[in-house]
Amino acid sequence: MTPLPQNSLAQRAAERAARESYGRLVAYLSSRSGDVAAAEDALAEAFVAALRQWPVDGVPERPEAWLHAVAKRRQVDEVRRLVEGNRFTAEMQILADEMLPEIDEMPDRRAALLFACAQDGIEPGIRAPLMLQTVLGFSAAEIAAAFLLPPSTLSQRLVRAKARIKKLGVAFQIPDRSELPERMQAVLDAVYAAYTKGWADADNAAGADLAEEALWLGTVVAGLLPEEPEAKGVLALMLYAEARRAARINGGGDFVPLSEQDVSQWDAQMIHAATKLLIAANRDPGSGRFQIEAAIQSAQISRRLGGAASLDEIVQLYDLLALVAPSPVVMLNRAMAVAQRDGPAAALPLLDEVGRDERMMSYQPYWASRASVCAALDMHELAKAAFRQAIGLASQPAVRTYLQRRLDAINMT
């Protein structure tokens, strides 16, 4: 990336415009051939030039036309290089003209590109990185840093995935109504998976970057699929979480749970934006997983801010979520909502039930929740064992030290 000029707002605006235009051009150029890699090659230099020039000169009036013109010039140069003796002819110009389409009639095919990245034959773990690269133009190195992967490993997997898209050979299109919900879920799952990864790595800069990129992608997705309440739902959910980022880690670098966070550190603007999205999503009948999860976040946040949401309401939302998207993690969170509503004794049998799922044995939040409930019931030995297990499973230093502080508190009683 180019060095930051003084006005980083201009930098960001330019970057955003460049990435938007880049995604449009990649989507358009690859929509018929399915060859994403070739489309990216054609645009690579134009994109680098844009990120260098736009923050300084301002974003051109028609960013796509600008990128298009630079990419075309590069292709002409390429053709010229190929001609023996540097004889450049009018025929060559025509040939070059055909390689990039006329910019004025270019429809926005980015939504179709998203669906192509999240189709069946593409391994789920690579879908979000693929979208970040093809739709927003992030480099493999940037994405690798955010996903905590070696760049060479990620590059190989991206190249393989693009080859796979080409081989699957489906023309890029928006799926029809019958397939749409399932295909949509795959797109939104990928965006949310990227966000939660960035959220988990809250105490390092790479995590913050990834969360921001996922939010950006979520904004683009919600804009491209304006009819889809779940696209708004996932964006609202991410914004509610992001609004609390600063409050999650205290001055000493320790993790702070929601119930103890300093609400003055929450980003009111983001919470407001999330609430607006959630209201817009709820206008449609039916609720999907992300809408319900966003509604739970909204209720939890409003309770902390002195709002009227009741604990009953939160437990009911978890019941609904368990119907729409059953998983042991949902049941775990429901049990903790019950603990809040009815006290720890009511939650313990629910946790026992959740713990029957083998996946919970290596799931850190399960042990941390169990430890909290046992501690509240003065079951010291069980609480200590559960805190130790949670410490052994923690991968973030901030969470590990938080859990250890709680364990020490029991040891001292």
């Binding site: 297990q389 410490i391 052994g392 991968s395 250890q404």
Partner: protein, 118 residues
């Protein structure tokens, strides 16, 4: 598949850590070991004596030579290891990210190539 996790840390810095704080780190390491055992992933772990007690053996001009000190003279030294038996490389990586030693040093993860005699 088995993996070796080698834990590197700055010995000089480690020696300067107060005993109470060190006890906390050790507690985290024991919790980590127990989580590995509970998940059925654990094979073995040990700490190593200070690298100053190491010696290296090599051949120079056809002669075996023994030198005092560790092989690589780096800022961080290997101070211990875990051997784990993970489902796949991703699972092994996940366990490596949980190793508390990565907060004060470096954890190197390498697959162990197992040879089975015919």
């Amino acid at each position: 598949m088995k993996f070796l996790m080698t834990l590197y840390a700055d010995e000089a810095k480690g020696a300067a850590i107060p005993a109470a704080e060190m006890a906390k780190y050790m507690e985290q390491m024991y919790a980590y070991r127990d989580a590995l055992i509970k998940a059925g992933v654990f094979v073995q772990t040990n700490g190593l004596a200070p690298s100053t007690t190491a010696c290296t053996v090599s051949t120079e001009g056809g002669q075996i030579r023994v030198h005092d000190g560790p092989y690589a003279d780096t800022r961080e030294q290997a101070g211990g290891y875990f051997i784990i038996d993970a489902k796949d490389p991703d699972d092994a990586r996940l366990w490596a990210t949980r190793c508390p030693a990565a907060t004060w040093g470096i954890v190197e993860l390498r697959q162990i190539v197992e040879h089975h005699s015919p």
